[in-house]
Every structure is written in structure tokens, then in C-alpha cells.
Symmetry: D2
Subunit: 305 residues, 4 copies
């Protein structure tokens, strides 16, 4: 199979927005290979003295897109099957940005304390993974931190996850999985970026193992099938990524959408699905650092046949 390569034409995009001109158009079912830069537009190098010399809010987390999907209409669902994520650099970057992260006060929940020290790590790829330090190598378990479609009338910064996807930073948007998004405008306007070579739950420092990458995906449609929040299908689970603050609200969004899915597609009534998830549901932290936090609710597929 020859796969079309899609590279950004014009500037990378800092908003999930229906107002950007498309960089490509695909047919439903088409497989493409999308080139992305890292969350800092590849500007964080060992020579940079401090973050703010090269990166300024809101010009963060550059996205490749929008890619239009022929025939996509509001009320449909866009299905993104992720095949592979290949790094296009020999190292990952991670670090601590002042007043950003999970264990520091932030611009959105400020305190009077001094910022944590800014520290940057440039971690080389080795055969078994990414070398963190002399003793430790972290396996390459890549996923796209950011992925989604344009909202209907809004343009939202690419740091924020929401019902249309965006910066969910959950490890489940990874090769082998399908990610579903609600189509909100004609053509869906798909964006992606912010590839991670690996990440802990929560993206605790606010920065994962950031890499530029090529991501190979098939973009397809479920016509006339409508969803409220991003859904993910893996071999073992159906999942929903809910995003809000505090985490409590993100969790509830994810659970309720998951219940609605079980009702719509798997023959449960709402109370029965609630009881069942109470006993077999799983929930991992996606991110606790972005403008909205993300929780992922899961139901094992083995119970859903």
C-alpha cells in the first residue's frame, strides 16, 4: 500500500478551529501518514537557555491540519485508526516549564509561591527505548498527545482537551487503537500533533517525552452515528476520554458517555450499566496539567459480546 504523506503547508496551527484553510482532503477509509513537529515546534534544543526565549503562550503545541474528510457532516462520527507513530528525531525532549505542571501552582490556579526550577532533559533513543539516566531506559510506547476535530463556531487553543478531542494527553490514543470524534463541521477538520515517545499517567510534569513524528492513520466515518465525547476502542476495552476541571467532572463526563455507549450499542439500560461499571469499570488518569484535565473510563470488551 502506498500511503499519502501529508505535511503542514503554511504555519502550524495553535487552535482547533474551523477557520483554518485545509492542508489536505481525504476520502473516507483513506490511510495517510501525517508529519508532526513536537509540542515546542522543535525549538527546545540544548542551546536554549530558557523556555520563554523560544516559546510563548498561546503559540504552543503546534498542530498539523486541518485535514478534511470528504462527506463528513455534523452528526457523523470520525473514526481514526492509528497504525504507527515513528519518531523523526533521535531524541525526546522533556522538562519543567515555570508555573506549568501537576505539582506546581499554575496560571489557572495561582499561588504566591516561587516557581519550580526550570530543567530540560534531552533523552536519546536507544535500541530498547529512551534512555532516562544511567540506570533506566523507558520503553518506546508512543501515542499522539493531541488529536481531534474543529468545534462548530469556536477556535480553541491547542493546549486544551474537550468534547472535540484536542490535547487529551492520554496514553490510549496509540497505535492499534481507534479514536472516535464527533463531527461538528462539514469535512470534520481533523488535526493532530504533540507526539509522545512515552508518558506517565497524568503527564505529571506537564511535558512528556516530546518528539516530532510521522503518524499513520486511516480516517473513516460512521455516517449518522452521533457521539458526545471522544471514544477509544482497543483490543481489550471500549473507552471514553472526558476532559474538564476538576478531575471529578472529567471522570463523570467519561463515565456517563461510556454508559450511554453501553446503552446505545450493547443492550444495557442506564442503571444496569452503572451497576456493571461499578464492578468492572476501570479509570486511569489522562492528564492533570492542561487547561482541562482528562480521565479515561474503560469497560472490558470481553463482557460486551
Amino acid at each position: 500500500m502506498t500511503v499519502r504523506e501529508i505535511q503542514q503547508t503554511g504555519p502550524y496551527r495553535y487552535t482547533y478551529s474551523p477557520f483554518h484553510p485545509p492542508i489536505a482532503k481525504v476520502m473516507p477509509g483513506e490511510t495517510v501518514c501525517i508529519h508532526t513537529v513536537d509540542a515546542f515546534e522543535n525549538k527546545m534544543t540544548p542551546e536554549v537557555e530558557q523556555f520563554e526565549d523560544v516559546c510563548t503562550y498561546p503559540f504552543l503545541n503546534p498542530q498539523t491540519g486541518p485535514i478534511l474528510v470528504e462527506g463528513a457532516e455534523p452528526g457523523d462520527t470520525l473514526v481514526v485508526k492509528i497504525h504507527a507513530i515513528e519518531p523523526t528525531r533521535d531524541h525526546a525532549v522533556t522538562g519543567t516549564v515555570p508555573y506549568f505542571g501537576g505539582l506546581t501552582s499554575t496560571r489557572l490556579d495561582p499561588m504566591l509561591q516561587e516557581a519550580l526550577e526550570e530543567q530540560w532533559l534531552f533523552l536519546p533513543f536507544e535500541e530498547e527505548g529512551i534512555r532516562f539516566d544511567e540506570k533506566r531506559v523507558i520503553p518506546y510506547e508512543p501515542f499522539m498527545g493531541t488529536m481531534g476535530v474543529a468545534p462548530e463556531i469556536e477556535a480553541v487553543n491547542a493546549l486544551t482537551p474537550d468534547y472535540y478531542g484536542g490535547n487529551m494527553d492520554c496514553v490510549d490514543t496509540s497505535p492499534g487503537n481507534e479514536v472516535w470524534f464527533p463531527v461538528l463541521v462539514e469535512g470534520a477538520h481533523f488535526f493532530t500533533g504533540d507526539a509522545h515517545a512515552s508518558q506517565g499517567d497524568g503527564e505529571l510534569t506537564g511535558v512528556a517525552l516530546e518528539i516530532p513524528a510521522k503518524v499513520t492513520v486511516t480516517l473513516d466515518l460512521k455516517k449518522g452515528y452521533s457521539i458526545g465525547w471522544p471514544r477509544i476502542v482497543s483490543d481489550d476495552f471500549i473507552m471514553v476520554a472526558g476532559s474538564a476541571r476538576p478531575l471529578d467532572a472529567a471522570a463523570r463526563i467519561a463515565w456517563v458517555e461510556l454508559i450511554d455507549w453501553m446503552v446505545a450499542d450493547y443492550g444495557f439500560d442506564r442503571m444496569r450499566a452503572y451497576h456493571f461499571l461499578g464492578q468492572v469499570g476501570q479509570m486511569r488518569l489522562g492528564n492533570m496539567v492542561d487547561p482541562k484535565f482528562t480521565m479515561v473510563a474503560k469497560c472490558p470488551r470481553k463482557y460486551l459480546s
Copy 2:
């Protein structure tokens, strides 16, 4: 003084956005009278059977604007002095929208419970105020629920308050007071709407005494004076409106910006301002119903001469 009247040309706007064409341009210091429709674009009438027959998210809270301010540049502050808010209808509308409000689960913090009953009230203006029921008249204490400027690269629904203003729904954006906004794009792009004849703290049901109105304001600039969040000056207080979820974060945003103001303009150091607000600061709830909640931190001006 003849005051220029400004009415919306083209559609009302449902986003705080730099992408809408301006409806007017004013000189700094100019006083204008802006016509606004109510939060439901005047569509909720006694004949309407249910809310969703006439109003659909995100087409809510229509704004008049954008109005450009000549010479406004990023880094300046827009000063809006509010002179008067006059209703242009003989009654206010209020009601309960399913899954919206302060004492119900919502789209952003969903539960499995049934929605509260939808109830609409059409409350006539009388001489002493708005008649709520046979025994009770609520004084006319109007303010603009929504007011602000365009963000830099985003377009955000008009239901949300944030650092650029928007749907703060706090009673302090009222006649006699100055409201300050950070200028984020050239011309500032000022919007307003959502006039309220009165409202309790929190806008508890999610809907105040909604009216179409004419609001008379002077738009002026503080050149080269930069702020982080909306500030309000009344005869008695300097105030900051912080917006976030949960309320804790909104409160902290408001307190920290207020402290920074006391440091920049009133000779406090940060710890001293913190100590002082600990003893004399006041904080009222703005709204606890919008996509972000609002808290207003206040310092009495009598201590600041």
C-alpha cells in the same frame, strides 16, 4: 452630550473572537449607547413551549460587537465606564434550562439523575422594580452579564468568562463602575450583551432577570498599562473577577491579580498585600453556573489612598 447609538449590524455574535468584522469604531474617551438583546435573543416568550424549541447551544447569549477602539494595542488596558443600563422591554424573563444551573447536574458535570423541571417566568417591571410574585418586588439593580474583548487567537463561546472578560455574570459590572480589560488584539474588539435587571450572587438558576437593554458606556484606554484579568473600580472598592473551575481556582486567580494590582499601584509588597487582604479583603460569588465560575475579590479603597 449627544451619544452615538450603536446597534448590531449583521448577526449577533456567539463568540468572543477577533474574527468578526467590526460594527463600529470609537475614539478613546468616546461615549456610546449600545443596544443589546437578551440572553435568548428575545426569543423566550410566553408562547414558547420549551427552551430547546427556540434556543440551541452554542447559539446562546448573543453579543453586540465587536466595537473597535482606535489606537488600542496588545499590552494596553481598555477602561469601560458604565453610565446607565436601560431596559427596552416591559418585563424580564427568567427560568430553568434542563441540565443548566447551580443546583443541578450539567453537561460539564453530568450525573444520571433526571433534569429539574423546566419553568419560565415573565416578570413585569413596576415602579419599584420587577414583580416576582404577589408579595415580592425585586429592585432594579442592572448590570451587564457579559462584557469583554477578543482573545488573541481564539474564538470562545459567549457563555464562558475568562481573562478577557466574557460571561462573568457578576453584579459589579454595573452603572457607576469602571471595568478594565486587557487589550489582546489591535482595536481591542469590545463586545457586550446579556443585560440583567437584577441577579443574586452566583446566578443560581443559571438565568438572571434577563432583559434587552441599552447600555451607555465610555470606552477609554490606559496605554502601556497591562493587566492579567478583568478589574473593576467602584466608589468603594477595587475588584478583580477571576473565572475558572472549581470556585477555588477562580478565587485564587482573583486574589493573586488583586495582590499584583496592590503591589503595582499602591505600594504594597506581595506578602504585605496578602496579610492585608487576609484581614480586610472581601469576596463574593459571581457565577457558579457558566462553563467557568467567577469569584470577585475586593479591597476597600479607603485603605489605598
Copy 3:
């Protein structure tokens, strides 16, 4: 009227608990003058080098009590009418305790940042109030930071506010007002302490203008009248103090109990009370520093005749 003086016998109490032996017993309707020490058991003096040399968690916020009320039974309400709060020292103490306060990370919401500087202020009483600095005098507006009754089977540290009262730190438990508590055990077991010469909303630094004081109160009963959370009656308002984290939950607790009060005693139905508070309710921040935060919901009494 001769008023009985009540002083602590035995150690001050660090828990709201039914397990402490009573220090006094009063008849319903009796007026007493209760002597209290400050929140640091009067140990913070200018000679102390740092807080932890004299104060250690959980031995903070010492309470005078328990005082038994003859005839009080579970299901009754204890009504505490506050007449006067007189300081028994010539100065107030305030300061910043490491990792405690509203604009710092804390033991209950920890970050990795360094603590704010510990600073202590000893502020003298003058004729017009408490002198904060050369230019500023803060009026004497005293209230009891902590007041309440024993829970049924628990013993809870005196830093925490909850449905039985405790460390609400809201300015409304002040002279002239009545404060109502649910009686949860026989005799009610009333405690109070933590007098404040003044305080801003939120007790932002975590420490108000702390004083030892004599508080004169009448303790009375509403037999067979049951409430869920502390209620306050002033000349102008009926109020409820809700305590929880985050502030959103504290707010909802206060609003719902206030609505239930309006339904039980003032002829509203629940939805009607909700609508009415949406337009005339007020809500001020009590505290945002204690193990639970406190919000005070208010309805103007002028509408309730």
C-alpha cells in the same frame, strides 16, 4: 443581669467530640460569658522564633467546652445568641504558617514548591481599631472563628468546619446574630474558641487577627426542630454556612439548606425558592484555608415577612 463566667477547667480541647467531660451545664435560655484563648493557645509571642516551636498539628485551635445544655436532645436545634466579644489582650496576632493558607500549596493539596516565608505580626489595639501599619487601622469587628456542638460518634479536630459547626471562620458568627446548630447528642456539648478581632472573607492567609476573648452568649433550644447545617440569623438576613471541598460543594450545601429552610418556614416550594435565590440570594466566602472550606448563603429577611 449577672452573667455566669465560664472558664476552661482541665485542658483546652482540640476536638469537637462527645467524649470530653463537660466544664459546665446551663439551662436553656441562660446567658453566660465564656473565656477563650486564641487559636495558638496564646503561645505566639514576639519572642517565638518559628511557629512549630510552640504549635504542632493537631494541637491547634484550642476550644473552651464542652458546655452542656440541659434538656438538649438529638433532633433539637441549639440557638446561640451572641451578645458581645471582648478581647482580653491589648493586641492581635496574625501570621503565615508554612504550607497553610489560601495562596499556598498545603498539606491537603501539596505541590513541590517551597513554602512562603513565615511572618508574624503583633498588632496593637488602638481606639479606632487594630493598627495594621502606619497608615492603616482596621476596625474592630469581632466574631468567633469556631463554634459548634459535638458530632454523634466522632471526634473531629477543631480546625475543621462541618455540619455541626466547628471552624467555620465566617464573619457572620458575630455579636447581634443568632447561630443555630443541630443537636446531635444529649446535652448538645457546645464548644467555642478562636475569637477574631477582624477578618477578611476567606481568612486568606489562614490566620485572622487572633485574640483571646470573653464571649457573652445566650444558649437556647428549639425543641423538636431539626436542621442539617449551621444557620445564622442577623437583622437583615437568614444565612446558612456550608463547609466542604471544593468551594463548589460548600456553596451547594449552603444553598440547598437555605432553600429547605425557606420551604419549611416561609411558604416557598423548592423550585420557587431556587428561582427567588437566583435573583436575590447573596453568597460570601467564609474560609478557603481550613480542612473544609466554608461558603455562606444569604436570603434578605425583608422578603420573608
Copy 4:
């Protein structure tokens, strides 16, 4: 090995408290088999019409204990090695209690909506697990919902998890794992109860597959080794259970204690541990239904040798 059986003498306990007389005393290193009743004191049977006919707050979640550990002193750590949990009934009970659970408003975050329907399920044990319905059997993966030690001066209801353990409701307090608690009073005063045959993350409905059980544990001490929050060691992970509201605070508590552990025992500095957990840390939801919510932070042990 003969293992001593410990059964409750006197009433089951509804508080984690240092005030209850001990039911047994063990030597450090001793293995015992503790008999527990289910969270409803085995009173929920198919004959019961509604929950409140047999169960009333705060008389919920009865605990077996306290069991004293010889030589345990404040500043030590109690190490509980869990060997086995055996059900002592042929079925599990689960259900929905009005205004309790993860997808309903609650007493601690009330709304005006009607309660969810009360539904009770009595689920039989079969060979492969617990039969949920005709098509689904849930594997037997038992753990103790509640386990911990007495706080220093408080007595806290057994529904609440906190730094001393209690009702954490996280699936990791299971056979094969060690659970560590800070010793806060002489003898530690260990309690346990609330066995679950299985549970989803979050205990979403508020009620797991509740069973009476015999739990076999070894109680041991780490003398002079002090911890802040419950720690768990499995074959694959070191873990911390943080409990607070909202989930954000529970998460931060767990992460910071885990970092402090990595610093104290595994040679990391704080910033380095933060970076490392940002890339390899895991976090699952414990419970989002109890008076405090629980999050479990994990670091893979393979990186810690």
C-alpha cells in the same frame, strides 16, 4: 502454621478511633485471620424493602478492631501483609443507596434533583466468580475496602479514607500486597472491614460486591520509619493512596508522598523523581464516592532496584 482467629468482641466499630477497647493484641510479625462482616453489617437481604430500614448514617461500614500491635509507637510504620480474603457467604450484595454514589448528587454535594432509583442485587458465587447476569460472570478479585489505624486524637467515621487509611476502597489492598500505615498512637490500633469480592475503579455506584470475609494478614512493624500516607507494595509497583476532595488533591497527595518515598529510599532527588514519574508513573482511580476520594499513584519497581 496455626493462625489465630480474631472475631469482634462487643459491637462492631463505626469509627477509626483510639478510644475503643482492643479486641486483641498481636506480636509484630504475627499472622492472624480476622473475621469481618460486610459494609451493611450483613443486614441487606432480599427481604429488606429499602436501605434506610436497616442502615442509618453514621452506623455504616462496621469494622473489626482495634487490634493492638505490641511495641508499636508513633513514628513507626505498621506493615500489613495480606495473604488471603475468603468470603463467608455464598453471595455478594451490591446496590444503589439514595444520594450516594459517583453519578448522583450527594449529601456532600447536593443538588435539587430527585434521587436515582434504589436497586439491590444479590449475586451468587459460582465457580468462575460472581454471576452478574445471565451472560456475565465477574472474576473473584477480592480486597479489603477499609483498613487502617487510629488517628492520634480524633475518631472518624469508617466511611472516610485519610492519611491513617480507612475506607480507601482501592483495589490494591489485596492478597499478595503489603499495605503500610503510619503508627499514630501506641499499639497502632488496627481496624479492617468492608471486604469486596470485586470492584471497578472508583466504586462508581458507591457499593462494591460486598461480602463478609475472613482476611489473613501478618502485622509487622518498621520501627522508627515514618510515613505520611498509606503505602502499598505489590510485586510490580510501589504505590501511595492519597485521599481528599476533589480528586485533584487526592492525586497530588499520592504523587508527593510517592516522590518523597523515592527520595528517601531509592536515591532520587525530588525534581528527578518528578521528571521520572512524569514519564513512567501510573495512577488509577480508587474511589470517587466516599467522603474523601482516593487516587493511587504507582511507580514500577523494575526501575527501582
